[in-house]
């Protein structure tokens, strides 16, 4: 009997972990929790709405994924899609980044193999949250690499809930960015690891990470420019080493070769202006290390100076001539408009209206920085300070990543996403370093207090410790207050992130939700109503004309051919549609007939007060149409420099096709109590032309809240 408790306590003792093991256990459990948290916080959209694909581009991705599951990879690769860009069609296999679809199908196949009878839609919906979870792991390891495991943990937590990332990775947001941020961070992490270790294995891994990134998102251009820039900075600051040489060369050569396997990218790595920096740095590096080697071999400094001069001059000359010849002969394409618009924020506005018309391409407002980063915005400079204080190859990288991506985030709203991992990592360094300093202060003081009490005022203490002792009470309180402050800020961050996720970023934008008069939730499901009507009640080969925003949705949900869609590759075609929409009906019908259109679809928010409708997008139709066809002149639609729809509107505005289609029979409609019929709630005015007559088109369908209106093109009248 007496031995029993003893053996039990032995057993307990054997379970007792050492401090290091305890720390590992805590770290692993925190990581597991963060992994789960990152996944479930992105499920708000499923709980609020349903398991569905969101927005515009994800519908194309979903449609292609469906095609890939049904027809296999080779058919997918060779797919010519005749259901979009009628009558041109689109070579899908050669004009998309297949990484996302292949990933989703791979997950789907694995689950199927494990006998989970899931639908491909569920896989697509949950791909982005799954990859967000994986990103937190990468963030942990990255943080550990550049600072310590504490910073890694904080980085994982911050990135798990950061709204800037959640905005593009909620469940249902089945877009390239969802997997691309994972690929981006993974490539960077592995590359930094390769630079730190000089290991060929890590640089090989970074080449494959880069390959995955190239296959997933056009944002890979950021990697292929940032890494050479980083290498250049290291070379200039004299931090070059054999490790860097191995890492960059292996990553660049293999990454480039692998990237060429993606059809959409093809030979761009050697032919396009955006990729030339990487190549230039590659050659520069060879020259640099060659010179370094020569310097090492030659003992004579004077001889080396001469050799250096000759080599550098000839290398620069050869490089310059090669570049010049390439540019002149057209072998190397100049920078694209998109790239220019990144470097010069005003470029798109003046030259490419189609890029400027997209809301996510607008320059970022300060409020959205605050909205997406919250306290990280203040922690970011603090983190930079810590990085500069402990400069290493890794911290230089993260500083450069943070600064460049912050600049791009300022240029375009959507690029906040790219900046988010860097901001999270740098902020994590700030949080971790601060908290660590404070706790060290607290703990050491406790020790001092203890030692002080036991040993009294023993003379073995050094003078500095005595100094510490003197300032002890004040410092301790201060540290505690600062710690509480930090935790308060972090808790505010957590609440803010949750609130933003649930309120702002979880809406699928296909289904609109509003609060009713009694506080109840009202759902406007008009988009799907219209698309399903198209799918069921129009001929299989019907051609639908709409503004390009709805192209992907019409093909994916309505299963009908569209004239233009969100892949804005042909500006002229879009301008033709814009011209048709902004012409008088009898002129427009010529364009409509020439495009063989059967149905015209417009989105109209006048009844519900839905503001992102076609009337509010109309200025872009006029601008894009006018950019190609000079017959469309923007001033014709303007009154005192603004677009109006009421009585004071320009006559051309009141009679153009878009106006007629939106407001057909709207003049008889009472929208709001106490307002005249034909009161447009989206713009808050009574419309100017209530007697809209259509000659060549007839109303085929209007959804229950009038958000989508579909018109049938009447066959031409018999001549006699």
């Amino acid at each position: 009997m007496a031995t029993m408790p003893a053996s039990a306590s032995d057993l307990l003792k054997s379970f007792k972990l050492k401090t290091k093991q305890q720390e590992l256990l805590i770290r692993v459990s925190i990581l597991c929790l963060v992994y789960i948290l990152a996944f479930i916080t992105r499920l708000f959209s499923v709980l609020r709405y349903e398991s569905m694909i969101h927005e515009f581009d994800p519908y194309f991705n979903y449609r292609t994924t469906l095609y890939l599951t049904e027809n296999g990879f080779y058919d997918f690769w060779n797919w010519f899609d005749y259901e979009s860009w009628y009558p041109l069609g689109r070579i899908v296999g050669g004009t998309l980044y297949p990484g996302l679809m292949v990933t989703a199908v791979l997950i789907y196949r694995i689950l199927r193999f494990l006998r989970f009878a899931v639908h491909i839609r569920e896989v697509c919906v949950l791909t982005a949250p799954f990859f967000a979870s994986n990103t937190t792991l990468v963030a942990y390891f990255f943080g550990k690499e550049i600072w310590d495991s504490g910073a890694g943990l904080v980085a994982a937590i911050l990135i798990a809930v950061c709204p800037g990332y959640i905005s593009r990775s909620v469940a249902g947001s089945y877009d390239n960015e969802g997997v691309a941020i994972f690929a981006l961070l993974f490539t960077f992490y592995v590359f930094v690891k390769a630079v730190n270790t000089g290991s060929l294995a890590w640089s090989l891994a970074s080449a494959f990470g880069y390959f995955y990134m190239v296959s997933a998102w056009g944002g890979y251009v950021f990697i292929i420019n940032l890494i050479p820039l980083y290498v250049l900075v290291l070379l200039i600051t004299g931090r070059y080493s054999m490790r860097l040489y191995v890492a960059y060369n292996c990553m660049y050569i293999l990454g480039m070769l692998l990237a060429m396997q993606i059809r959409f990218v093809g030979f761009q790595h050697v032919q396009s202006g955006e990729h030339m920096a990487a190549m230039g740095v590659f050659f520069l590096m060879q020259v640099f290390y060659f010179l370094d080697w020569v310097k090492h071999m030659l003992s004579d400094t004077k001889l080396f100076q001469a050799f250096l001069r000759i080599t550098v001059t000839s290398a620069v000359a050869v490089g310059g001539i090669a570049l010049g010849l390439g540019m002149v002969s057209g072998y190397i394409s100049p920078w694209t408009g998109r790239f220019y618009s990144l470097l010069d924020p005003t470029y798109a506005k003046d030259h490419i209206p189609i890029i400027a018309s997209v809301s996510e391409h607008q320059p970022t407002a300060w409020s959205s920085f605050m909205f997406d980063f919250h306290i990280l915005l203040f922690l970011f400079p603090a983190g930079l300070y810590f990085c500069f204080k402990r400069l290493s190859d890794a911290t230089i990288f993260i500083v450069m990543y943070g600064l460049t991506s912050m600049y791009f985030a300022g240029v375009m709203v959507r690029l906040i996403l790219v900046a988010t991992p860097a901001v999270c990592l740098i902020s994590a360094i700030a949080v971790s370093a601060t908290v660590k300093n404070l706790t060290v202060l607290l703990r050491s003081k406790n020790k001092v207090v203890q030692t002080g009490s036991t040993k009294g005022s023993g003379g073995s203490k050094s003078s500095s410790k005595a100094l510490l002792d003197q300032s002890q009470p004040f410092q301790k309180n201060g540290a505690i207050a600062l710690l509480f402050g930090a935790f308060y800020l972090l808790s505010r961050y957590a609440t803010h992130c949750t609130w933003v996720t649930s309120e702002a970023y979880s809406s699928p934008s296909i289904v609109l939700a509003a609060r009713g008069a009694h506080g109840n939730r009202v759902i406007f499901d008009d988009y799907r109503e219209a698309y399903f009507w198209l799918r069921q009640n129009t001929p299989q080969d019907a051609k639908v004309m709409s503004w390009w925003d709805y192209g992907y949705q019409i093909t994916a949900m309505g299963n009908r051919t569209v004239i233009v869609d969100n892949n804005t590759w042909n500006n002229t075609h879009i301008a033709t549609v814009g011209r048709a929409m902004s012409s008088y009906e009898d002129e427009a019908i010529e364009i409509i007939r020439s495009l063989d259109v059967d149905y015209v679809l417009v989105v109209f928010g006048g009844v519900t007060g839905y503001s992102s409708d076609d009337i509010n997008k109309f200025l872009w139709m006029v601008r894009i149409g006018g950019g190609v066809f000079p017959v469309i002149k923007e001033p014709d639609y303007l009154v005192n420099g603004e677009y109006r729809v009421d009585k004071g509107a320009a006559p051309k505005m009141l009679n153009c096709l878009m106006y007629k289609l939106c407001y057909y029979r709207f003049g008889e409609m009472m929208t709001e109590y106490g307002k005249p019929p034909g009161y447009d709630r989206a713009r808050g005015v009574e419309i100017g032309n209530k007697d809209v007559k259509l000659e060549h088109l007839e109303e085929a369908f209007t959804t229950s809240n009038w958000i989508v209106r579909i018109y049938r093109v009447k066959p031409p009248n018999n001549r006699w």
């Binding site: 349903e50 569905m52 009878a117 799907r528 109503e529 399903f532 007839e698």
Partner: protein, 439 residues
Amino acid sequence: MGISRFVLLVFTISMLASPALSDLVLSKVDRRIYLTSHIVRISSTLEVENAGPETVSKVLLAFPDLQAQNLAYLMASPHEAKAKVKVSVVSFPIDVVKPEDMPPGVTFYSVSLPQGLTVGASFTFDVLAVFTQALRPMPEQIGQADIQLVLYQDSAYYLSPYVVKVQSLSLKVPDSRIESYTTLQSTKVQGSEIKYGPYENLPAFSSSPITVHFENNLPFAIAQELVREIEISHWGNVLVTEHYKLIHGGAQSKGEFSRLEPQARENVQGPSAVRYLVAHLPPRAHSVYYRDAIGNISTSHLRGDSKKTELLIEPRYPMFGGWRTAFTIGYGLPLQDCLYESEGRRFLNITFSSPMIELVIDTLIVKVVLPEGSSDISVAAPFFMKQWQETKISHLDIVGRAVVVLEKTNLVPEHNQYFQVLFCSPCSIEKACTLVLAY
């Protein structure tokens, strides 16, 4: 053209009519034709008398071929004074027969009486015949705001190979608005009912065509294809999934659509549109969902009590004539409500057809997914249908589950009867439960 063909046919029949089977005499025929929905139900009470020298056990029913094509359901049962009571009706077996020396263009069904009719005896029984596509919209195309008028054709006299002594016919239309009807001698209209007869002592195969043209705004909902999947899970659930492909089979919609009118005057416009469908699900149905290829449809209501669960679903858009839609509804049922055990075999007892009320189904495919490893499978159904087996691989299956597939065409709500699938399960529920508990 349809009219003339029908008239021609009826005349041919009367020309060719020869008193062939004269052993039996129908001493009284009372026919009631219900035209109150898009399904036509003819309920007849026949009093048959044996005037011949021998005992007779079979009675022939005759339908012109044009009608017989659309005949979905035919049932004969002993006559009961209270027609409303439908409980425990024993129906008599009915076969299609081709007797000799009969005029062409007529299909015969032979009803086996429960016991032979002795000489001079008489017997009264009810016949219920249900027809689909018997109403023809006229005009065939209507605008969105117009009412729907339909045409119905039949014979005022009961078509029979026997001499009919006394007969009467009444047609019930949904509304008192009757555009036109054939007037014969002794025709009366009372509200929404048209009465023909009584007629006395008519020879065999006598007929007289009648045509009724009337307003019928009830939704003509037709499921062109319905696939029902019934999946048995021994974890305590029977999952029913129903994939509908629906069409509005009434007068085609023409002209311009307008959202303005239906919103301004709710009930006046688009009267024949299918706005909603009602399904009567079994009691204790749970986890009900309603969706289609592109996501959930939010317009549905579910009410439940201990007797039934009522599901009201609205299509994404009101369906006008000729419009289509497709959707899926699904629900779970507790296992103990559907699965029973007898003589060492399990059997599933569940309704065969759709729970939607007044829905015509062109093709119905029922797939019963049995638990993995089920063997010795057989089906007991109240009527004949095509039947084969498949395999389905579902969650965590290794070899796949046995699926019994049943197919039948042209169904009406009367087909919604219980059927049984019997099978031997590889391990009992108790074993599975203990297995789970053990882990």
